[in-house]
Each structure stands twice: as C-alpha cells, then as structure tokens.
Symmetry: C2
Subunit: 516 residues, 2 copies
C-alpha cells in the first residue's frame, strides 16, 4: 500500500503582512534548533522561511496519486484529529485495515503551495501527521505558522511499547484511552496490556464469565466487558497502536483461582492442605483443557499476531509442599528441579497457543529455563542484573527480543530520572550484527502497585517520552541538553492537548493543565 | 464564643426494617475498628448500634442553646457542604469572623433522636462536622448509616500546616482551592503559601505592579490578582484554615529584581559588574524603603496575625564579589563574616514588619545567625541533620517553633513513604516540658521544583495525611498497621469526594477517580 497525502491548500502567503503590520517581529520566526520535535526524525532540514496557516482554509486532503482515498476511515479519522488537534475519544469503524509496516522511510515536505506527506502505508501516514502537527507553532499574534521543512523519517526499532497493569489497580477505560492518545503523540506503537494478575481479573471472558465475576475487584464496575476490550483495540488501531494482551501463567494467577475450581495448586502445610493456593496446577489435564478453551477465546478477541504468555517469577514453594506434585515429579524423573516442572507446563501451554496460529511473547525466564520455543517467539528481557549477558544469550540462540529492564517506570526517585532512561543504548551488548538485528525494540513498563487513575498519567509522561525517542530516533541522538529543551516543549504540547504530563523541572507552560 | 450545634432530625429508626427486609445483613453493621476516621480523635467510643440517614430528611441545624445562628454564614456554608458532601468551590461572604482557637475540647455524640456536636467555637464545629461526615458509611443497599458514637476531640498541636510553592511552578487557583478542601478533610489548619521565589513572582502587588508584570512567568495568565488572593484567603477561612504568606528575603529573590531597580546586589566578576544579581542589596536605604511599603501592603492584604519572612539559604558569593558591599562590611566592622551582614538586613526587616503589628515566622537560619527576634517569633526547623539539636536550641531560647524537616514531601521514593512521615515523633528531642510546649506544630512541605497542576494533588495526598494524624492525634497513636487500614479508606473517601489522592498499595476503591 502506498499513500501519498497532499496537504493543501495549507498556507496563506506570508509576504504582505510581514513588511509592516508585523513590524518588529519579522525575523522572529523559529529557528531550526527551536523546533521541538519529539522523537527527533531521522533526517530533518528546516529553514527560517515560515508560512502561516489559516484556520478558515487549512485542510488535509488525499493526494490524487494516493492509493488511499475517502473510503479509508482510519485516515479520514486521523485527518479530522489533526486538522483541529483535540484528543477526542472518538470511535469509528474503518475500512482499510492492513498489517503493520513500521520500518519504511516516509517523507514530509513543507513548502508552498502545499505540504506533501509521502508514506508507504497508513501507519507511516499517521506518524507523519503527528510530526506535521508538531511543526506548527503559534507566533506572537496567535497565528499558526510552519516553517519550510524537509523530513525523511523511520523508526529505529519496530517494537515501541508501553506496559500498563490493570490488575494491581483497575484502570478505568478513560485512563487507558487517554494514554493511547499520548502514546501516539510519542510514536509508541505497542500497548502491552498486562490485564490480569494475582490481585484481580478484570477481563470479562465470554467462555468463563466466572473469572471476572469472582476474580475482579468488583464484578460490574471493575471489569473490561467485551465491548470495552473491542473499543480499546479499535481506538488503538486508529492511532497505529497494536494491543498485545498478557495472560501471565503459571504464576501471578491467584485471582484466576477464584473462578476456576482446581486450576491452582493447593499448598500444603505438613500433610494437609493449608487452604492457600499456588501457581496453576501443572499435573492435571483439566488445567490444559481450560487453557485450550481460554486461549482459543483470547486468540479471537485480540487481533494482533502476538499474545504475551508471561511465565515470570514462578514461586516453587507451593509445588514443593504438595504430595501429588511430588509424586508427579518423581514419575517424570524431574528429581527436585522444579524449573523442569515449570518448563513442562509452559511447553504444553505454548503448544496450545501455537495451535491458535498466534505468535507468543514471554518473559525471559521461559528462555532461561530451556523451554523449546517457536522460531518467531519474542523474549522480553526485564531483569536489570546481567541484562547484557541475557541479550547476548537470547540473540545468540536466534530469538528476537525486546528490552524493558532499564525502563521500569514504576520505580520513582527525586529529580530528572528521565535522563537515565534516555541514556540507555539497547544495542550496547557484545554481539554480531545479526544478533543486534534481533533486538526489535523495547517497552516502558508502569507496573501498578502504586499507580491508578489518580496518578498514572503524570507518572508515565513525559518519563516514557525519553524511551520513545530512544526507540525511534537515530543511535547518535544522545545529547541530553538538546533533548531537555525539546522535551520541555513536548511536555507542554501534551499538556496543551489535555494530558497531565508532569514537569521536568522549574518553569511554565504557556497554557497550564486545566484539570486537577 | 460558644457554639452548640444540634444536628436534627438526623435519623430514621432502624428497628422496622432490620428484622426481615435486610435479612442476612443484620449484624453486618460496621464495628468500631472498621470505622475509618482520619485523623483519629482523642477519645472515641462507638457501638455496633447503627442508625440510618435519609437523604429526604437529613439536615444539620443550629441547636437552640447555640450562640451561633443563621447569621453565621461560615457555619451555614459548612452545613450545606456537609449535608450533601461535595467539594464545591463556593465562595460566600460570612458574618461571624473570630480569631482561631485550636486547642479546645469539642464533643460529638451520635444517638437517637439526634446527634449533638458541641464546640467551643466555629473552628471546632468545622472539625466536628468533618468527623461526623467520616462516621457515615453506606450499607449494602447504598443507605447511609451512622453508628451510635461518642467522641471528645482536640488537636495535639495547634499549627498543622501545608506548604505549597507557587513560584517554581505557577499553581492555578483551582489547584490551590482543591487542596484547601483536602486540607480540611485532614484537619490541617494552616496554608503556608510560599508564593514567590527566585523563579517567578506571581503575586500581583497593588503598590508595585511591576513585580509581577516583570517577575511572573506571564504577566496576565500566571499571576494571582488581588481578588484571587482574597478568594484563597476567604475560601480557606470558610474551612478553618489560616493563610500565612511567605515573602522570602534576602535570598530567593531573583524574580523581584526584574521589577524593582537596584533592589538586588549586582555581582562582580573581577572589578566590573558581571550582569548577574545576588540577594537583596542590604547596604542601600532604598531597599528598606521598598520593604517598608511592600510589607505595609502585605500586612493589610493577608489578615493572619503572622507573615513568614523566609531568611533561608542566603548565598554570600555575590555579596563577597561586590566592592561596595566589601566597603560597607569594613565600615560596620563585620570583617569577612557575611552572616553578620545577613543579620544586619534581617534585623532591619523584622523591625519594619513588627511596625505593621504583625508577628513573623522565619526559617531556622535566622535564629542560628543570632538575630534578635521578637518574643512571639515562630522559628521553622527545616534542616534534617541535627534537627533535634536545633529544636533543643530554639526552645531553650524560649521561642515557639514548628517542625517541617521530616516532612519534605517533594522528596519521593518507591513504596510507602507515608510510613516514615507517620513514625516521626515531634517531641522526641531532649528538653524540659516547658520546651516541649513551645513546639506548636509542624508543616508538610511540597516544594515546587518538580510539581505543578499536573501532579501536585496525587503527590501530596494521602502522603500528607500521615502528617495530619501525627499533628492531630494523641502521641500514643502510632500503630502503622491500624493506620494503614484507616488510611486506605480515608484515601478512597478523598477520591470519592473528587480528589485524586494516590493509592497506598494494591487494591481498589468502590468508586474510582473519575478525572484524568
């Protein structure tokens, strides 16, 4: 698919007024280094020549040569968003759904009589529209200006994700949608939805409604209905964002046990059950029957080609306490190595999910434990210690990987911690070029222990913006001072668009946050 | 002044329905330890007997014996707020303005046929209304209940403050008012308004309008007009909160210099001025003439008996570089001890302010430097190291003091840092009973370097609530586990009332935050 977008008629001529009406302000147009693009494009050439945009006549149109036209609802919708920028939570069906292509070079050229955006596909067109919107600035009189500019752009990494956790605290739909809007402003393209965990199960399953009825914080108010999930997926797609749901097993499943009898392992205290439960019971066929049905549903509800299957932090103590598990271990010849039992479970689960034709992502432990993985598995490296060694090992084994270890944004500290996130170089580990190519991106993770609707958005932004630029812009873009200046403006842009992104340091925005 | 408030007709009889209509839920009324009062009253006796409140007939009225009546706008206003709790930003003139009395024992008795709140003054009545509102809880059917209860209450410390900083970032009026509302929910009674500093001067002065015209981040949008200031003061007063403004000199004054010529000391680089400026110039009479006029205005704009004069963190390097200052130092016989010059300035400033009949508060350095202080001076101890030694010294010298050192809430860290604030015992320093009595309270300080409208409220609450209970409740109230359980409910109560107070840990509120 090849979309050529002609943005016309964009401009009023600048010549007439500048001579005398604007008097003192001739030459006060923004210089190249004042333009606050975020993340920085791959190639960017701006001149001091500025054109004015008139609200009365500005519009974005399909170019005649474009393969996309008015029937492409996704672009029509995006045109409307960017024509009068407002992060409205619109939701509309679209007609032109294509697979993502994130690594094509797209071009944006701002000149008279019109600006032209060339994109290889609709996703590139969306990114280009965001770039265009960031180039527009108000002059002293409140008139929108845009400088003559040429941009060629593409992301450095294909997978640029944000993990939100709706289990430790339920996140109202409004919060998720607002953060999808903000992700698009930062050119993130993956929403890793850590939707359930020990604490609660808000996902409402059609096949197993008792999971949320008994596992959610509240069965009516703290759940995501099928139509909620559909809305999140579609709202994200309209902004070029994939939704990868995570259903983490066999650990992190306490809330699953409320609704599904015998799914979890009964823990023992001495020779009798203690009344508490551990990970998914890996020795019962019923567990695998359940997973088969459950992931069959998940594979149809979520259109993305990948599902995240978790597999992290399995606590062996409950398995060790259970005599039936002990017997099974002996039968299988696992000795007392419970990681073998974990692998036994994961192996069967992966086969179940593979049968749904989905690819899967897993946390690094699954790889570390030697589970046999499909070639297209994506391994997520999250442990901070020995991170480079892990990247080496995973890529040496030929698996694609994404990095989240340096970007656990739930850990907060006093001061400008965004700089730490910004300074990470994902490919600094020792390895061949082929190994480096297997690192397809990264994720900023905002785990939910201390985060809910009250504080999520300002805690995530603009700290995650640092990760956004690291994953989009060229490896050479590392100047923290330059980044600071652009990020200050980018954060005010988010505030102006209604997002409570917190300040980097002292200062002000021309237009401060209007909410609470 | 003695107000007796009779709250009637409060209740519908509980007997009829409980027998069969409510079936299973008889006996499911809240037990005493489930009631989530915050801060905990001094004496509290609750029974499992519960009364139901009907929205149709519930009202709060003046008791016949009360010295206050319908002409007391402050109470009428409070009655309306608490009858249908909603943190509306109402603003109305009131008739019965009296001086604060914060240490009287007030009583609240919930029983049939009516609850009675006895308070020695309107401020105690306001606190009692808040307590009353916290006793009300919804049963399974959404009906409001209140248990038979007897409470005697008074604050342990008279000065319970929150410092907000509107200079590092401008805080829109809406944010300040919302936090005054939340302060009242936590029984704080002092808003320490750190209104100006180096970074900006948002206070619009009638006498010197150029201070904000040239010193604010923006002369129209980032200022507090006289009517804004008046609204803050009145809005606070309606909730029993004093407003103590801080105009910090001679340091922290960079923004003052934009509007007032020659107010700041020109710094020198070698033998010529460097173009930068330091603290207020203490050797010019014009500086003192300015301060005389300026504080004359401040003393009339702010009705509180105290003004905070700052006096912290004076950087001597600029004074040291300036040849005129050096000459003055020699004339005065100060040698090279610039703290003597600082004291020289502060001494004259204190005399100027004393002439306005106001009391003053100062940061601890002013005391440390040996400045002669009026007997009624309040010294604020903010330095964490040698805090106990400082408290000893200040009280040994006979000065009243407030403590903020352990409660700098701008410093954030991962996890439940509210517990650190909670565990502080303000009177743990060695000293006589007379010395301990001089510690009249404390303040939670949220300095503004990293805080603005986007993140202030969730960062402040419920962390400041820990300080609220430390300053209100009995010294023996130190059980962190019990506090956790109550604070979880108190934070959900704040959320329900529209305040984005952040979560303590995993869990949920029956009604989550509805904003962004």
């Amino acid at each position: 698919m090849y979309c050529l977008l002609k943005l016309a008629p964009l401009f009023l001529a600048v010549a007439v007024c500048n001579g005398w009406l604007f008097g003192d302000f001739v030459g006060k147009q923004k210089e190249q280094d004042e333009i606050s693009l975020w993340p920085l494009p791959q190639k960017f050439q701006s001149s001091a020549v500025a054109f004015k945009l008139s609200p009365a006549s500005f519009q974005i149109v399909h170019a005649k040569q474009s393969s996309a036209g008015p029937s492409c609802g996704l672009l029509e919708n995006a045109f409307r968003r960017y024509e009068l920028y407002s992060p409205l939570f619109t939701f509309e069906p679209v007609l032109c759904y294509k697979r993502f292509c994130s690594l094509c070079v797209d071009e944006l050229s701002i000149d008279e009589p019109s600006a032209v955006l060339k994109a290889a596909n609709v996703w590139g067109a969306l990114r280009g529209l965001e770039t265009f919107s960031q180039l527009v600035y108000e002059d002293y009189y409140g008139v929108n200006n845009i400088n003559k500019t040429d941009i060629s752009d593409f992301p450095r990494f294909a997978h640029r994700g944000i993990l939100l956790d709706s289990s430790r605290h339920f996140l109202p739909l409004k919060v998720i949608l607002a953060n999808l809007v903000t992700m698009a402003m930062n050119k993130f393209n993956v929403f890793h939805w850590h939707i359930v965990d020990d604490q609660s199960f808000p996902y409402m399953s059609r096949t197993f409604p008792e999971l949320s009825q008994k596992g959610a914080y509240h069965p009516f108010t703290h759940v995501y209905t099928p139509s909620d999930v559909k809305m999140v997926i579609e709202f994200a797609r309209m902004r070029g964002i994939r939704v990868i749901p995570e259903f983490d097993t066999p650990g992190h499943t306490e809330s699953w046990g409320n609704g599904i009898k015998d799914l979890l392992t009964p823990c023992y205290s001495g020779s009798s059950p203690s009344g508490t439960f551990g990970p998914v019971n890996p020795i019962l066929n019923s567990s695998y029957d359940f997973m088969t049905q459950f992931f069959k549903e998940i594979s149809t509800v979520f259109p993305d080609a990948y599902i995240h299957l978790g597999g992290d932090e399995v606590d062996f103590r409950c398995w060790e306490s259970n005599p039936d598990i002990q017997k099974f271990m002996a039968q299988q010849g696992f000795g007392t190595d419970y990681s073998k039992l974990e692998s036994f479970y994961i192996q069967r689960l992966l086969d179940i999910v593979a049968a749904t034709k989905k690819g899967y992502m897993v946390w690094q432990e699954v790889f570390d434990n030697g589970v046999k993985l499909k070639d297209d598995t994506v391994v997520e490296v999250w442990m901070g210690n020995k991170m480079e060694e892990e990247l080496q090992n995973v890529t040496r084994a030929g698996f694609t990987t994404i990095l989240s270890a340096p970007w656990y944004l739930d850990y907060i500290s006093y001061g400008q911690d965004w700089q730490h996130y910004y300074k990470v170089e994902p490919l600094s580990f020792p390895g061949t070029d082929a190994q480096k190519k297997l690192v397809i991106g990264g994720e900023a993770c905002l785990w939910g222990e201390y985060v809910d609707a009250t504080n999520l958005t300002p805690r995530l932004w603009p700290r995650a913006s640092a990760v956004a630029e690291r994953l989009w812009s060229d490896k050479s873009v590392t100047d923290v001072g330059n980044a600071y200046n652009r990020l200050v403006q980018h954060r005010c842009r988010m505030v102006k668009r209604g997002i409570p992104a917190e300040p980097l340091f002292v200062g002000h925005c021309r237009q401060e946050y209007k909410g609470l």
